[in-house]
Symmetry: C2
Subunit: 221 residues, 2 copies
């Protein structure tokens, strides 16, 4: 069996891998994410290339997390995977990139702005193999938000769930009924695209079945 | 809190509701599904209207399950929900509707036919309210299958998972990496569309937050 070290604190990412029969080790990186994004923005400004696209920002952070954890790994693992997610919304004034809301008021305001609209959830993935191989890509999935009533928004925000997640929504939790549909990979919206992981694994010479845990292999019989 | 009785034996449907904070009661219907579909096909043939579309077949079965369970309910519940799913594939000779594979050989043959192709997963929903209100609709989601190698198909079939599910694939289990993307609601592919349930609830005067269990409401804080 090939072992995987997940460079992320996200319970949703861990649950996604587990649902697919993969039992990773977990080590959270100590990357200063805001500082990295500031550097990238400054470099782009100096080069006159305009704002860094969300799809690049998440890839940059995923790479930094994976490299940091590979360099400091406390356990031996064949592969290290870093991920990062952001929601890009067009609120009518142009694309805005959003992370977790600061508080309940911001979560409610976000939902009032995004209900009935469409966003793009970007998740960057960076996979480091056993040698010096490293590969990365971003999964971008269109998300259609239901036209929630004010009462639904208030009830949803009161559960606390929207405060813990990028974009103030989930598709795999209480927020499930509030996303009418997606175009792309559902798991990418949750924070880790399984079909994209399959592609990246292929690029470093590993297949998905090599990652299946013994428990997973007996559960389906 | 409003209570829901789920007229289905599917662990995936139960898990979908639970992930969204809804803790239903469960009672499996005793509907003779093949007989019902035969009747519908005979009626369509007599009327000269051609084969019954998959989207209608699943709605018909969902309705029969919900009505059967409402009539025989062993517990008092405000609402009864029936669901049924089928995968429609175009294998080049026209649309074919498939349920669970009979055995491992059939599951492998299906995957060799559907890899790299696209299917439509139809899930019928029928909701009966406290009075005589009943409403139903079908969720139809396009599913893109990855171009699996023969070795991946053999490994996946050997897990046993494809034998238990309509269409011989899951998106919420080991099969997750083998679906490259969808267009529509992910939960509808799993067997119960949460946004469609929200619509149907609205038609009988109930909102999603009224179904949230007390456990769900405290977990997110």
């Amino acid at each position: 069996m090939t072992t995987l070290l997940l460079a992320s604190a996200s319970p949703a990412r861990l649950a996604t891998l587990r649902s697919a029969g993969i039992e990773p080790q977990v080590q959270v990186s100590s990357v200063d994410e805001p500082a990295l994004l500031d550097q990238a923005a400054a470099a782009a400004a100096a080069a006159g290339t305009g704002p860094v696209p969300a799809a690049e920002q998440v890839l940059l952070l995923a790479r930094a997390k994976a490299r940091d954890v590979r360099a400091t790994a406390r356990t031996a693992a064949d592969l290290v995977l870093g991920c990062d997610s952001m929601l890009e919304l067009d609120d009518g004034t142009g694309p805005t990139v959003v992370g977790k809301p600061a508080d309940a008021a911001e979560a409610a305001a976000r939902w009032r702005a995004m209900r009935g609209r469409t966003g793009v959830l970007h998740t960057g993935h960076w996979l480091i193999g056993t040698g010096t191989d490293e590969v990365g890509a971003t999964s971008s999935t269109v998300v259609h938000f239901a036209d929630l009533t004010d009462a639904e928004i208030d009830a949803y925000v009161a559960t606390g769930e929207p405060l813990h997640v990028a974009g103030a929504f989930t598709v795999d939790g209480l927020g499930g009924p509030f996303v009418t549909g997606i175009e792309g990979d559902h798991h990418g919206v949750v924070g880790l695209s399984l079909p994209l992981l399959r592609d990246l694994l292929g690029q470093v010479g590993v297949t998905v079945p090599e990652l299946w845990s013994t428990t997973a292999l007996t559960a389906g019989r």
